[in-house]
Each structure stands twice: as C-alpha cells, then as structure tokens.
Symmetry: D2
Subunit: 261 residues, 4 copies
C-alpha cells in the first residue's frame, strides 16, 4: 500500500430525519421501515450502476464505497431523493488509504456541514475535489458454513438471527480494529468487508477469531480490483470456489477469477 489513497467512501445522511419521524406526531413504524428500505434500495441501484458497493449502515446514515464516482453523480442522487421522497439527503465524501480512514474522512466532511439534526442543513455535499483513489481495494465476502442446515432449517428464527448478528458484530469489530476495514451484514448469512489488501493469513485469523468467540464457522472469498464491483464479483466467485473445495479462505491466488478490473 502506498501513500496514495486507495478507497473513496460516501456517507449519505438523511437531513434532520429523527425529528421528521415524530412530526407532528410519531409516524407509523412500518411506514418508516418501508421508506428507509426503498431509499436504501435506490441508493444501492444508483451506486451499483457506477460499480460501487453499498451498505445500509444505520439506514439514516448509509455507507457506500464510491471509487470513481464523482461529485456530479452524488448531486444527481441528491436530486433523485428530493424528487422522490419526503426527506432530503446530505453527503460527505472522503478518501483514504484504508476503508475506515476513507469513511472517517467522509464522516468529518459531513460533520463540518452541520449537525444531522440541524433543521437548516439540507442537501449539503461535502466532496473535496481530490485526486481519485488509484490503489486497489479488496472485498471479502463471508458466509456461514451450512447456515441452512445448521440454523435456518433447525432453530427458532429469533435465535438464528441472533447467532448471525453476533458473528457479524464480532467480525466487524475485529476487522475494524485489526485491519481498518468496513464490514456489514448484507442478508441471509452473508457479511461483506471492504478491506485494504491483506494477506491470506489475515483472513484465516479473522475466521478463527469469530469461531473462537462465537462458535460460528465462517468461510470467505476475497477479490481485489480497482472498482468495488470488480473486487466484489471476484470475491463472490472465490466464495463459490470455497463452497466447492471446502476451503475457509479463498483468494485470487488460490482461485483465479476473471472479473474485469
């Protein structure tokens, strides 16, 4: 890893959202859930269209790896939110050598525009025109070994979810602390981490850490490329290979993939 930044993250924050949800009185919870989920889906399609990756974060603060996505595109997304939803969004964009550093920079950018609950702050875009990240990034796509047979088809859904969420939290904290990665549960038994380029043994240790702490067996496929999408597709292919070979960790070295860079 050089001194050049490798990753760009964007933090998409709904403006003054908390107060809106209870004005003039608390809105129906299911409606709020639906609103948040649809807005996130639109962000996912928007970012995916530009070969980025996206996580729901806390839904009022959504997170995207946006290498190569410029401020004009970010403005376009803000326009879409304004035209389609009863809320607006501000966005901070940051770059860094690691995913966590980039998201930290994005967070600071956004924080300088005002509070998330400042009623006067609307549709800010804090996107310093820096040189676009040039380094590669890795996507690590984890799943739970035989989640269907072990959990989904056997135990109370409340417990299956607690187990997967516990493993996710443990993994996410570990990857943040030891590798400056940004990690999120993405549905089913899948957890995705956007990482700096790491050694295979780093992933071995991560899987071992989660097993020791939570008794959950993870498997991971890793891809490395310049765009989050290309890295992510390579990771998915590597994970498929791992499902076949039974390997805990499958990386581009162990399983060559043909995703475009």
């Amino acid at each position: 890893m050089t001194a050049d930044s490798a990753v760009q993250f964007s933090l998409v924050q709904l403006d003054d959202y908390g107060p809106w949800t209870v004005t003039p009185e608390p809105r129906r919870e299911t409606s709020l859930q639906a609103l948040q989920s649809r807005l996130y889906a639109d962000l996912a399609d928007f970012v995916g269209d530009r070969d980025g990756y996206v996580f729901p974060g806390r839904f009022d603060n959504m997170v995207a790896a946006t290498n190569g996505i410029d401020p004009v595109a970010h403005r376009r997304f803000q326009e879409r939110v304004r035209n389609h939803y009863p809320v607006t969004a501000s966005i901070g964009v940051g770059t860094g050598e690691t995913p966590a550093a980039a998201l930290g920079a994005a967070s600071e950018q956004l924080q300088t525009t005002g509070s998330a609950q400042d009623a006067d702050r609307r549709e800010r875009l804090a996107a310093p025109h820096e040189r676009s990240p040039t380094g590669p990034l890795s996507v690590a796509h984890f799943d739970v070994v035989d989640a269907t047979g072990t959990y989904t088809d056997r135990v109370n859904a409340v417990d299956a979810e607690l187990i997967v969420r516990r493993a996710t939290a443990t993994l996410a904290e570990y990857m943040r602390r030891d590798h400056d990665a940004v990690t999120s549960f993405v549905g089913g038994d899948n957890v995705i981490a956007i990482c700096p380029v790491l050694s295979d043994s780093a992933y071995d240790e991560a899987v071992e850490h989660v097993r020791a702490a939570t008794d959950v067996d993870l498997r991971v496929g890793v891809g490395t490329a310049r765009s989050p999408f290309a890295a992510g597709q390579a990771a998915k292919h590597a994970l498929e290979t791992g499902r076949e070979t039974g390997a805990s960790v499958t990386t581009p070295d162990s399983a060559p993939v043909n995703a475009d860079d």
Copy 2:
C-alpha cells in the same frame, strides 16, 4: 398472562433464495441489496396496513408480529410477491404466550414444509387455524440517549454503527434470554422489542444491562395493547415523553397514551 396465546408471528422466507443469487453466476450485490430491501418494504406496508409490526430479520427470513392477520391475507402477500418479484415466498405462522415462543412455532411450521433451499418448495403457507391470540402484547421502543450529539456528529460512521449494533446485539440477546422477546434494530438509533407484558423494573434492568456491558445509554418507551400497531404507537408516545422528562423507562402507567387498543 393466561394460558391463551398472546401473540402471532409470521416468518416469511424467500424460497431457495441463496441458490438463486448465484445462478447462473453470482448476481450483482447491489442488485440483491435493492431487491431484498424493496421486498421488505412491501412486507412492511402490507403488514402495517393490517396493524402488525415487522422486522427485517435476515432479509431472506423476515419476521412479522401479525396478531389478527388471517391466512387469506398471508396468501395475498404471497400472490403479490409472485406477481412483482423474480422470487417467491413461503410463510410459517405460529402463536404463543410469548413472542419468542410464537416465532419458534412459526419457524417449526415453516421447517415442516421443507428446507429453505429445497428447489421444489414454493409458496408454502403453514398457518394452523388456531384461535387468534387474545392476550395483550407490549412493544418496547428503545433509542440511544443523545445519539446524534454523542456519535453521529462526532465519530467515524464505521464506529457509530459498531456501537449501535453492539448495543442492539447485547439488548436482543438479553431480552430473548430473560424475557422471551423478539428484538430488532430498526434504523438510526432505534431498537424495538416485541415483549410479553413485563414490569417496569424489567426494563430498568435491561437498560442497565446494556449500559454495563457496552457503555451505551438507552432509553425506552413501552406500550401495551392488543394490536402490535397500537402497542407500538403507545410506545412511541411514551418514548417522546421520556425524551422530555429524561426518564430511562416510560410505560403506560407513567405516561398515559391515547392510542386505540
């Protein structure tokens, strides 16, 4: 609480979803995120329309408190999924004295119809025609005290989310183990638990448990009613009262609400 069941839960499971996501090869992650989120949003509106409550679960296994929602309505939702999405859904419905027991019964119902990854299982509805739950249930709506000032406006978004997710996991496991509740993060700094009717001190202890384990300060508003929506709205009003009074726990006794039963 009598021997009568108090709660009905429905477990909505996408049929053979994991395999679909990688057939013929892995689909774009952002597209999957968008699909799952929109389908969940539709479930939220559907259940909300009938005064239920809903949680995303693991997205391929979504969870709803569905007191008073009959099998015909569940079929209607399956029809909607079939007509609007490239996937289908099976549903298990269960009742119980507690939320976790009801969701456990729903899980078992669904498991008897076949595996989540059985390619031949499609659109099953396992909904035993039992007497509809008659007892009241509680909704406990938690949030983090001054989350915006303490976290959102100050720290790296990656850490803000880790903190909230850790508090959620700790609370959810505690409420499941000690009170047979079903708990979920629902966005922002909000966590909702569907609970049996509990004493005020039970909530005091839950808040204290999370504070001791994670150093996160929660506040909670509690509502009790026969429909999840009515209980949930009462909880939201109680939480608003708590924000004003500074009380950690606000229940119907401490803050009378006027939501319909």
Copy 3:
C-alpha cells in the same frame, strides 16, 4: 338497475402538483414520470388489496372503483402517500347508479374542497357517509385481435401505439356517451371499461363502432359481480374464452365463470 347506487368511485388528486413540478425550477421530466408511476403503482396495490379496480387517469388525478372501501382505508392511503412521497393527495369519493355518475359525484366532492392548485388545500377527504353501493357492476376487458401479429411484430412502435390509443379514445368516448361507463387503456393492447350491467348487444355495438371508426378489431370479455375485482376476474376469464372461441363478445351467459362474487 334500481335507484340504489351500484358503484363507488374515488378520485385521488395530488395536491398543488403542477406548481410543485416547477418549483423552484422545472424538475427533471424523467423523475416526475418515475414519481407518478410509483405512486400510481402503490395506489393500484392498495386498492387491489381491497378488491377494487384502478386506472391511471391523468396520473395527477387517478381513478379507482372502490365499492366496499371505507373512509378509514382512504385515510390510510393518504397517510401512506404523506409518509413515502414529497407530495400529498386529496380524495373525493362518490356513489352513483352508473360508473360515470359515481365518478362525477366524486369529482364534485373533491371540487368542493378547493382547487387542485390551491396551495392551502392538503389531504382533504370528501367521503360522504352514504349507504354503500349494493348493486352489481360489470367490468368489460377489451383487447385487440392479434395485436402482436398485426401491429407489435410488424409496424413502427410509434404507429402501433397511435393505433391502439386511437381505438381506446374512440371506445372510451362511446362507452361514456352511450353507457355512462368509465374506460381506460391499461397497457399492451388492453382496455378496460367499468360499466353498468349491459346487454350483450351493447358490447357488440361497441366493438362494431370502434371497427367502423378506426379499423381496429376488438374482442371483449365481460364479468358482473358486486366487487370490481370479482367482476374483473370474470371478465378476464371470459376474454380467455373469447380468444379460444374467436367470439367478439363473451359474457357470463356465454361463458360461465367461477370467480367469487
């Protein structure tokens, strides 16, 4: 047909929508198209969930046959629009012996609440609590004979659409003038009319009128029931029968259907 009203229509009007579309300056046309279409889709699902029928109208003025849908449900839809969109909706509800009379009554109800471009009018619901319609209504589902072979697979799409739209306009005006029906193009080569109960010969004459005026060959299936959905499903089955038999007009008498009343 007795003096009792047979049909209820609802007119859903976006509040002050025209001015919104150009404030502070003209919004992107494709965004407006997307907004209108999604809002209409939500109305379609909402009304369909309650066994009504729905037409896009002019998109800022949407039309629904809402027999049996009460004011509380209409309020629920207004709440959903408010929670999910940057615009709000007012609704007029009317009943009548014929569809056009009912929609006329709904129009008058709505007009009494203020102008469509009154900036102060928001979320009005003008729904006189009258006795719910008790009479049956008919749904006539038309399509173009061999539209795919004659038009879609052969001619310039601009002309295929002009032909279908011309036939629709001609049919809609005829059905309104001669039978007080409400008629709409619903996609593909399909046109649906909500009608009073008419004789078979009335449909023969309608088909003949369109053929004489536009040279387009229509076929129609007719269903009659107390709910728009049941009538509409019967009409769809009748149309399928007509596709097999080659009959221009297929009614419940000519093709018994098993849709519930």
Copy 4:
C-alpha cells in the same frame, strides 16, 4: 438537417408478457398495473440518469430517446430488470434523421430478434454499433391553457380525461404525420413531442390544428439541444415563459434559455 442521424431511440419490450399475464390463470389486474408502472419508473430513472427522455408507450413496449446511451448501458438495464422483476426485457435500438425514423429503426431491429410473444426470445439486445447521432433534436412540451380552471376544477374527471386524451391523440397523429415526431401524454395536462428541428410556424400550426379539431387550447415551449434532457429542460423553461407571456408558442429564439447543450 443533414444526412447524419440526429436521434437514437430504444424500444424496450417485455418478453412474452401477454402470455405471462394469464399463466397459469389471469393475474390480478391491479398487480399487473403496479408491476408495469414500477418497471416503467425504473426505466425512467435509468434513462434520465443518462440524460435521455422516456415515454410509457404501451407499457409492455416502452420508448426512450437515448442519444449517447451505449449498448453496455442497455445491457445494464436488462440485468436490472432480470434481477428485480418476474419478467425480462428485450431492446431494439435505432437511429435516424427524425424521431419516428429512429423509432422505426429500433422497431425493426427488435422485430428481427423474434416475436414479442416468442417464448424462446429473452433479453435480446439489437443495437447496431453505428456512429452515435450528432445532430440536435427538439423537445416540444405542450400543456393545456388553464386546464385546472377549465377542466380539473369544473367537470367530471371522466370527461376531463377524455378531453385531454383526445387532444393528445389528435396532436400525436398530426406530429407523426406532418413532422415525423414521437409524442406522448406524460401526466396532468402535459404532452411531450420529440421532434426534428422545426420552424416556429410549424408549432403554431400544430396548436391551431388541435384547437380546430378538438376545441382544446394548447401552449407549447420548445427546446433544442444535443441531449434529450437538455432540450427538454429548455422546453420546460420556454413553457414557463409562455405561461407568463401568454404566447402559444415559445421557442429558444423567443425565450433564450440557459440549459446546457
């Protein structure tokens, strides 16, 4: 106008859609309406994101002016449909000196891939790699003079729609025949035509033609640029100017606009 093509159109056709709507038996009409509308909304956002313009056409055959949108982007849209909907789409792309010629070319391209109701034709993309259109195009944005005061606030909604639809059909046929334009109703009292570059008097005559034939008073703003979006925004600004000045026809000459080319 030179021999160079000025416009690119894309015809997006749902594969084997008619049969799907009645398999295994007729699907709920409101569900089909919702599906079509959401899919169209997604197309509108997708094309709008790339500065194109879009019309609903017949919903199973949607129409877009796609100058500058390449085959890769079209493939991306097909991927999105496949991942989000129970149906798939084929697309024909064509270029021409006029909008109607371009849409005709797109229609022919699509027709060569097989019938719209060929069960074996899925996700074809017929996009000849020709030189991208270089000439300018015009967008003419029409509305009805005082539609709210004359119709919406006064007459039965069934009649208000018939009047607007009749005016649209008359205008669309005229613009197709005399100017090779592609015209569509887009909601409210708005009709948009994508046109070759025409003289002001051509628009005067179009407005006069509709007035003579239908007694409906139209007004039009015209914009000319290389992208449909830029031309469309200029047309919207021109129409706003016309609303202020009362002019029937406002063109870039009469009202300079500052939309980007």
